[in-house]
Structures are given as C-alpha cells and as structure tokens.
C-alpha cells in the first residue's frame, strides 16, 4: 500500500475541523515532507515523528514520504497532529489494518522517545470527532479522562507510539514506558466561602441573590472595605450547577486554555482578571493561534472585574458587544474564531482614587478632575448594560457587632434555584431559560407584559430621560427576577419599583 489515511482535528477557536491525514510513499530518495499549511510547530513534526518511530522500533520507509493535511487550505497549528502523521506514514509500509487506521482519529504530540505527550484542546477536538461520526479515538494517556467525558466514543489512551501501532495490528513489541503526565493537576480548593460571613449589607446581599436568580450583571460602587470583593467571591456558591451543555462548554474552554480537564465540573467558572489586563487578554486574540480571553473563560459563569475604574477604558468598552450578543468573534488574517461569551459581569469600583469620596466620615483628597477621570473610564454605554447598580456604604459599628444572622449560602442557593425554576416554567415553550436572556419585545409586548398601570413609574423614568430604552428592558428583566424570588407569577408595581431602585438608585 503506498497511500495511507487517518484523521486528526484542527481547532479554529472552539470549533474542531476534521483533517484527513494522508501519507504517500513514492519511490524516490528518502525525504519527509508535510504539506497543507502547517505552522512552525507542525512542520517540526517531521523530526519528532522520525525519531519517535526510530526509538519505537518501528521503521519508517526509506523513500519519499509526502504527508498531506486535507483540507489543504485550512491553516493548522500545533503539535497535536504528530500521532496521526506517524501512524499514516508507518502504514504506507508496515503491515497494519488500513480500515482500522482510516476509521480512527489520532490526537497527540510525540516525544523523541516515542511516548505520547498531552496537548491542549482535547475536549473540543473529541466533540468535533464525535459530531463527524467517528467512534474511535486515540489520545495521549494523560488526556484520556478528558476524552472520555464525551459520550459514545471509544477512547484509547496510549502511552507510546508502539501501543498505537499495535492497536492497528502492527507486530511490534510495546515497551513498558512510564506515561507522560499532564503536569500537576490543581485540586480546586474546597469552597468554604459562605454568604453568612458578610456582616450587615442586607441590601447588597439581596441584590446579589437577585443577580444570581436572573443572571443579571451587577455593578458595585463603594469605599474600600465595604465588602465588594467579598460579595462577588460568594456569588458562584449561590448559583445553581451547570447543565450538561454549559458544563461541556466551560470544560472545552478550559481545555483550550491549556488547563487540565479531568472531570466535567458543574461549578460555574469564576474569572477575575487583574486590572492591568489588555483588550486581547480580555476578549482573546493571538496572531496565528487564536486563544480564548478572560470573557470566554468566564462563559457560563462569572467575570469579576475588581477595581473596574483602574482597567483601561478601551478594555472595558471591548466588553460591550459580547455583553449584548453572548459570543465573541475574533478576526485575524489566518482565521476567524468564535468563542462563547455568555458570562455574568460583576464590576466593583471605588468612588474615587482614594476611595473616600462621598463616604460618611471620610475625607476625600482627590481633586475633582481625578474623580471624573477615574469614573470616566466606566463609559455610559457600559454602565447602561449593567442591570443592577449598587452603592455600598461602610458597615457601621452597630451592624458590625451584630450577631451573624445573615443569609447563609445554602438558603440563598435554594432561593435562587427556586426562582430559576419558576422562570424556566414561565418561559417553557420559548428558547430562553433566564430572565437576563429575555428580549425587549417579549418583555414589553409579550404574553406576560405588565399592564400599563404597573409600569407607569418606568414609563415616567423613560419620559424624563432617566432611562434609555435598553435600561427600561433591563429594569423589566430584574423586576421579573424579583417576582420569581417572591414566588409571584405576575409583575407587580413593587417589583418594578425595586428593580428601578436597583438600576438607578432612584427612589419612587
């Protein structure tokens, strides 16, 4: 046989494209060439495959081998094609089961000693292979748990190349190698942050529960030490577990970021980038390989921007479009990649650089221009997209010495779950599951639209110019979450009033 075929996966963003790896043996002086737009790491595969085969007692043909990665026009990067290239090349001469090779997808990098090394992005690759109808997949031993997360796929976690060749029927001795490990798997620290740790701040805790119930974006402004960060850190604990699709998306992004994935984590991701983050760090980027940014990693979970006023203004404004659309599309010369960006945004900021502006008992040292510049980074269009704007004050002595009788995480979590279930029941038959996802037309004119009398304060705010129409819709969404938390099946005036207060701090 002079042409052998197998399969590998190229990732463009989070979408896997099946790549046919074909190796041809022509009767020419020895040469090993890879064609089909390989990048540097992939072109170097020649040496890795060559030495790995030699050290696995598998001899590559001493003739010209041409490996084509098809579709040839799709740019491919990374070292994950090594195993497929090696198997296809060997199969041109070594007797192996051609049908078995052609039906199997091979993923993984080869070490010079012939062992398989783990690669990032296994989970989205296996998902793509399963969607394309492949049932058998070979992955590095260290990635096998990640690959096994996908149902209906037969996974072979191979330690070395000889084992892969033997699985396809080659007569070769399998050396007893120590498998290459994926590096230290960090054990997620037990989450012992409880909502009851927060003393006082009842209003803020209620706002947090409302945000959790409807998946609303939350903006907190308050002096240092008011508990903004404490509050935000306790949000993942009160959110319900991710469903299958969401957990798979979150795990895929983790895998693409090169983080180890061994189980399908049901905990919503919590991403808190430092305020020096650039636009590319937040939205994702890269010249040839497009990597997911913080907002993609926060998808299905929470993006927490602490000290939002310290972030570069352009980085913050880059969040506006994904906040509306729920996806982020990154255009590069080599490829266009799309990542999910369905995150809940939590921003916290001080009222001014020194933090004492407008605080009772505080004396702000900042010049007015500094305060303007500080809060000016948070542009109007960005703040308009926040559902809840919360002003926090320092906890007073009377509250501070009070007993810890606040809402516990367990209770809040149950309330959030009940509210979400109520929303899901109300929204059954629609494509939406959360109040935050509801479109404006449905809120204003849909079957459950509130009567004119109830929304009068809202209309008044719109007429006054205190609200934009987008803000109007956002108030209605939060009002629905408040109604869900109250166990009410209809919007009442009090829900709209409280939602309006949460949005604008406007008392009726």
């Amino acid at each position: 046989m002079t042409v052998a075929r197998t399969w590998a996966v190229a990732l463009v963003g989070m979408v896997g494209e099946l790549v046919e790896v074909e190796a041809d043996l022509s009767n020419q002086t020895p040469e090993f060439k890879i064609i089909g737009l390989p990048d540097k790491a992939l072109a170097e595969s020649v040496r890795r495959v060559h030495n790995a085969c030699a050290n696995s007692a598998l001899e590559l043909p001493r003739r010209r081998i041409t490996v084509n990665l098809s579709p040839a026009s799709l740019p491919k990067q990374g070292s994950g094609f090594d195993v497929a290239i090696a198997v296809a090349s060997l199969a041109t001469e070594v007797p192996m089961d051609a049908a078995s090779i052609a039906a199997t997808v091979h993923l993984g990098e080869l070490g010079l000693d012939g062992r398989l090394r783990p690669v990032p992005g296994i989970l989205p690759s296996v998902v793509a292979a399963a969607r394309a109808g492949h049932r058998r997949i070979v992955v590095p031993f260290a990635n096998r748990e990640e690959a096994e997360l996908v149902d209906g796929i037969e996974v072979l976690g191979a330690v070395n190349l000889a084992q892969v060749a033997a699985a396809h029927g080659a007569r070769v001795e399998i050396p007893a190698d120590q498998p290459v490990s994926a590096g230290d798997v960090e054990q997620p620290a037990a989450d012992d942050l409880d909502l009851a740790d927060i003393i006082g701040q009842r209003e803020a805790v209620d706002a947090l529960v409302t945000a959790a119930a409807g998946g609303h974006h939350l903006f907190m402004c308050g002096p240092p030490g008011a508990g903004k960060t404490m509050l935000a850190r306790r949000l993942p604990g009160i959110l319900p577990d991710l469903d299958d699709a969401a957990a798979l998306t979150a795990a895929s992004i983790r895998s693409l970021s090169g983080l180890p994935v061994t189980t399908l984590s049901r905990t919503p991701p919590f991403v808190a980038p430092h305020h020096t983050a650039s636009v590319a760090a937040l939205v994702g980027g890269g010249t040839r390989v497009v990597r997911p940014g913080a907002i993609a990693r926060a998808s299905e979970g929470i993006l927490f921007l602490d000290e939002a006023g310290e972030f570069p203004a352009n980085a913050l404004d880059a969040l506006r479009q994904p906040l509306e659309s729920g996806t982020i599309t990154i255009h590069r010369a080599a490829a266009v990649a799309e990542f999910p960006a369905r995150f809940q945004l939590i921003m916290a900021t001080n009222p001014c650089p020194c933090g004492d502006y407008a605080v009772r008992g505080g004396s702000c040292q900042c010049v007015p221009a500094a305060i303007r510049r500080y809060l000016g980074r948070l542009s109007g269009p960005l703040l308009d997209r926040m559902d809840i704007e919360l002003r926090l004050a320092r906890v007073s002595v009377a509250q501070g010495v009070a007993r810890r009788d606040g809402l516990t995480t367990a209770v809040a979590r149950a309330r959030v779950a009940a509210a979400r279930e109520r929303a899901a029941r109300r929204l059954s038959g629609t494509p939406w599951r959360l109040n935050a996802q509801l479109p404006g037309t449905w809120l204003r004119d849909g079957p459950a639209a509130p009567p004119t009398l109830v929304r009068r304060p809202l209309d008044a705010a719109l007429h006054r110019g205190a609200l934009t129409l987008r803000g109007y819709d956002r108030v209605l969404r939060v009002a629905w979450s408040l109604a869900d938390l109250d166990g009410s099946s209809q919007l009442g005036a009090e829900h709209i009033g409280r939602a309006l207060y949460l949005k604008k701090g406007i008392a009726l």
Binding site: N27, Q28, T29, P30, R62, R63
Partner: protein, 122 residues
Amino acid sequence: MANKDELGRAGEERAARHLEESGYRVLHRNWRCREGEIDLVVCTDTDLVVVEVKTRRGEGFGHPFEAIDSRKRARLWRLAMAWSAAHRDELQGRRIRIDAIGLTGPDPATARLEHLVDVEVP
C-alpha cells in the same frame, strides 16, 4: 587504495552486474569530467541511465539513499547533461534518467541491493 574506495569499487562492480542481468548495457564506468564523476552510464533501447551507486557496510550512519540529497541529485543531473553533451552520437534520441543503487552489507557481493528507478529533479 583506501579501504572505503575498495568498498565503493566492489559495490559498483556488483551494481554493474545487477544491471547487466536486468537487461541494461553498460556504456561507461567512472566517467569523469570537470563537474565530477558518474559511477555508471548504462542504456536500454529507449533509455539512457546515469547510475549513482552508494555502498555502506551497515546502517549505522544512515541508509545509503539518505546520502543522495537534493544537492547531490542536482549534481547528478548536471553530470548527465555533461555526459550527453560529450556523447551526442550515443544518445540517439534516448530518454535520459537518473537511477540510484544502494548496497547495504559488510560484503558488497552479498549485500542487500536496492534499485531506485528515475530519481526526480530536486
């Protein structure tokens, strides 16, 4: 004569015998010109073949064909052109091609012989 030259000479001997047995007619051995040397020039009725013979005692330093890289192939073609320029009468409309013969084994007389037909231009 150095040991390696003797080995090469024996290898060429064996290659020539193999070609004759396969129906080729040997025209020249070790034809030299300013560009270098051609190991063997053989022909059939339709083809004129410039043959490069590589002999190795073992594969410790790689397969014999691995020594025929793109630079070497380019040189072989230049030599083929030089030879045909010098022997227009013997060409007689034959198609020119380059072959490579690799011999691997301690004794060229019994070594493993591999014959690559029509080595491409680099």
